[in-house]
């Protein structure tokens, strides 16, 4: 039932949205998704509930965003609402930064503390003398027990200046293309906007494709898996969560490209575009951290 006593005709009044079934639908979908994962992981049943939940979550995003985009196109949102959306997106991205910080923290802790200690550094010399006599502090490592898929515990890593360097160039270039698209949007040059936005999401999907190739190379030829000790754990969790974020970001870019093709966004009002652009820069910056600390040094 409507609570929009504040109208969309005046900017000097408050706007309160009408009620929505999407939040409760969203809670049910996430619950289904997670219940499905629990049962699947416990081997109670197959992935069916999980897949159903996943489809419901996709429906959540499509449905909820459709309502918001529709209301926005009707001009129902005033500048205060626009500002709320902007702040909300910024703090959401900050929370994402902190999520990655947990995994970067694990990487730094392993490299600076736990692996040197296992190798007998400083006061932990008895690790070397008594526990793990043939383990030396080194990186990359899969630990004193040399855990991993191969019988001899060996594995290889992906050199930074191969595919990862190309991927870095791709993401940096996509950061340039989206900035050109943004400027074109602000100057009302719609065809440049459309072309460069398309270039951005194509570069994004190209990145995901090359990452997938790299993963299959690591899994089939290098003996490098999630289970390859602490190196495999940190490598795949960091690059994996980043890859998921790039995939989502590229889908978001695709959506706003479809919207620009339909004439959405004006030079003055284009929160949706900017939110996606911020998100894209965020995955870009995370990648730079990954390139330096996971692949390079």
């Amino acid at each position: 039932m409507a609570t929009t006593h504040a109208s969309h005709h005046h900017d000097d009044k408050y706007y309160v949205p009408h009620d929505s079934h999407w939040p409760i639908y969203g809670s049910v979908s996430l619950f289904t998704l997670m219940l499905g994962l629990c049962g699947w992981l416990n081997e109670w049943y197959g992935p069916y509930v999980f897949v159903a939940g996943l489809l419901m979550v996709v429906g959540l995003f499509v449905g909820w965003f459709n309502v918001v985009i529709g209301e926005n196109q009707k001009g129902m949102y005033n500048t205060q609402v626009d500002q709320s959306f902007r702040m909300g997106m910024m703090w959401f991205i900050f929370s994402e930064v902190m999520f990655f910080a947990a995994f970067f923290g694990a990487l730094f802790y392993a490299r600076q503390l736990s692996v040197p200690w296992l190798g007998g550094e400083g006061a932990k010399m008895f690790n070397k003398l008594l526990l793990y006599k043939d383990f030396d502090n080194a990186w990359p490592t899969n630990g004193p027990a040399r855990v991993g898929p191969r019988d001899d515990g060996s594995f290889e890593v992906i050199p930074a200046f191969g595919l990862p360097a190309i991927n870095t160039a791709i993401l940096l270039l996509s950061g340039v293309t989206i900035t050109i698209a943004h400027h074109a949007l602000k100057e009302g040059k719609r065809s440049i906007l459309n072309i460069f936005l398309a270039a951005t999401f194509l570069l994004g999907f190209l990145f995901v494709y090359l990452q997938a190739k790299e993963y299959s190379h690591a899994y089939t030829e290098l003996g490098l898996k999630l289970s390859t000790g602490i190196y495999g754990s940190t490598f795949f969790m960091l690059t994996g969560f980043h890859g998921m974020h790039v995939t989502l970001g590229a889908i978001m870019l695709l959506v706003i490209w479809l919207r620009t093709m339909n004439g959405h966004f004006t030079p003055q009002r284009h929160f949706g575009f900017e939110a996606v652009a911020w998100y894209w820069h965020f995955v870009d910056v995370v990648w730079l951290g990954l390139f330096v600390f996971v692949y390079w040094v």
Binding site: A2, P23, L35, F92, A101, A106, G229, S233
Partner: protein, 534 residues
């Protein structure tokens, strides 16, 4: 789009409340959502409280009487998870929902639909968590801190616990974003940040803490999940990881988390003490800066939870000294509250009684925290009942008392009716006596060496355990009076005037009683805004 059309032809219905189930399921009103949060928190308090009574019943005498040790461990774990994530945090979010828009002069929260999403994730999260009581292997029993390797050895409950925490985390982050955006973007025109009531300030800082650390908890439990199911070795030495690494990541979340539980309490008490002392808050700005300092320090003290784990000396010294630093801004607050009352015209209604109990008893908890901060002394106290006594003093007469103080204080504004003062006072005195009988002896038990999280104990601990259990049952059952007081007020309380407390200031008290469905439909006039640094 049907929804939008709906909105259009109904947009001149002022103060029109939706009816039936839809009002709650599809809610966008901050008061409705706040009420749902508070009712949910109350249910969780009683659920978590029932678990605590199972624990105290078992500990009434040495030996095993009622439950088997595994179920006992499930009770300690679930009690903590329910009280922290289901009780105190949603109660604060509920109070923020009710009060922040009213206090900053806004019609509602900034992002009302997201607000409803934040709430409705919680019942589902706790369905996952409480469901583990019925899965093979029982509910999680490794403690709420989820330390590996113990937690990885759990039964089928393990993934449920992880995903329940994920859902609670999403809820908290979205709720916190909403509070930040409401405070920063929805304040009445002309209202500066230093004109806000302290409850808004402490919640703003709490929300920053939530956004910063809930994702870190999500990362930590995700690593547990992959260690358990996908062969990663974050927390396994054989693969180059370290179980202690989990403790570091967990407490990087965990220490700010305890301030998430207590900072809004500082806000509530900073409103109630001036009201019933009929004086402005002493040192408003220093209160704001002290809150911010506590929040900053909370990020650099985490390893004081793990002094005994084997840490380099430099680490122990750093975390010991940084922890002690927290006493300075906390001391600023305690002295400011005392100075506020100095020469005030004080009256002792129920909210003030709870706020005063907070002031005394939270300070006791703070002092025992200082004792625990001393690394060499902590080697003796660690994992004893002294720790249990410490954090229950800051959480029960600290956080929970101030939640109840806030409810008594604002209830007349919410429902337009006064609670029964005799009932409120009876609730207060039973609570404050019960809570001290319950937790004070636990200091003695801990100093004498009784370890926490055990269902049985040496006979030398029998006397004080019996006293503590008696206190637990007094405290637990006296909370029924709280429900009775609220029920009685809502049903048949006396009509409350616009400003039921003569000393109350702030925009929330400028609204009519009961507060209208949409708090401030038009921005409040400049002359009723609080003075800067009031």
């Amino acid at each position: 789009m049907a929804n939008t059309a709906h909105a259009d032809h109904a947009h001149d219905h002022h103060d029109h409340k939706p009816h039936g189930l839809k009002r709650w399921l599809y809610a966008t009103n901050h008061k409705d959502i706040g009420t749902m949060y508070l009712v949910f928190a109350c249910i969780m308090f009683f659920g978590g409280g029932a678990m605590a009574l199972v624990i105290r019943a078992e500990l009434f005498q040495p030996g095993l009487q009622f439950v088997d040790p595994s179920f006992f461990n499930s009770m300690t774990t679930m009690h903590a998870l329910l009280m922290i994530f289901g009780g105190v945090m949603p109660a604060w979010t509920g109070l923020a929902n009710w009060m922040v828009p009213m206090q900053v002069g806004a019609p509602d929260m900034a992002l009302p639909r997201l607000n409803n999403f934040s709430f409705w994730l919680l019942p589902f999260a706790f369905t996952l968590l409480l469901g583990t009581l019925f899965v093979p292997g029982g509910a999680p029993a490794g403690g709420w801190t989820l330390y590996p390797p113990l937690v990885l050895q759990g039964g089928d409950s393990f993934p449920f616990t992880i995903f329940a925490i994920h859902l609670m985390g999403i809820s908290s982050i979205l709720g916190a974003i909403n509070v930040v955006v409401t405070i920063l973007n929805m304040r009445a025109p002309g209202m500066g940040l230093l004109q806000m009531p302290l409850f808004c300030w402490t919640w703003l800082i709490t929300a920053y803490l939530l956004i910063a650390v809930m994702p870190v908890l999500a990362g930590a439990v995700t690593m547990l999940l992959t260690d358990h199911f996908f062969g990663t070795t974050f927390f396994t030495a054989s693969g180059g990881g370290d179980p202690v690494m989990f403790q570091h990541i967990f407490w990087f979340f965990g220490h700010p988390e305890v301030y998430i539980l207590i900072l809004p309490a500082f806000g509530v008490v900073s409103e109630i003490i001036p009201t019933f002392s009929r004086k402005p808050l002493f040192g408003y700005e220093s209160m704001v800066y002290a809150t911010a300092s506590i929040a900053f320090l909370s990020f650099i003290v985490w390893a004081h939870h793990m002094f005994t784990v084997g840490m380099p000396l430099a680490g122990q010294l750093f975390f010991m000294l940084s922890t002690m630093l927290i006493a300075i801004p906390t001391g600023v607050k305690v002295f400011n509250w005392c100075a506020t009352m100095w020469k005030g015209s004080i009256s002792f209604e129920t909210p003030m009684l709870f706020a005063l109990a907070f002031l005394f008893l939270f300070t006791i908890g703070g002092f025992s925290g200082l004792m625990l901060a001393i690394a060499p002394a902590d080697f003796q106290y660690h994992d004893t009942y002294f720790v249990v006594a410490h954090f229950h003093y800051v959480l029960v007469p600290g956080a929970v008392f101030s939640i109840m103080a806030g409810v008594y204080y604002w209830l007349p504004k919410w429902c337009g009716r006064m609670y029964n003062e005799r009932l409120g006072k009876a609730h207060f005195w039973l609570s404050v006596i019960g809570v001290n009988v319950l937790f004070f002896p636990q200091h003695f038990l801990g100093l004498a060496g009784m370890p926490r999280r055990i269902p049985d104990y040496s006979t030398q601990f029998a006397d004080w355990n019996m006293v503590s259990s008696i206190g637990a049952f007094i405290f637990g059952f006296s909370q029924l009076l709280f429900v009775a007081a609220i029920w009685n007020a809502v049903r048949s309380g006396e009509k409350a005037p616009q400003r039921p407390w003569e000393g109350a200031t702030g925009l929330d008290w400028e609204l009519p009683t009961p507060a209208p469905y949409h708090s401030w439909e038009t921005p409040p006039a400049a002359n009723i805004l609080p003075k800067p640094g009031h």
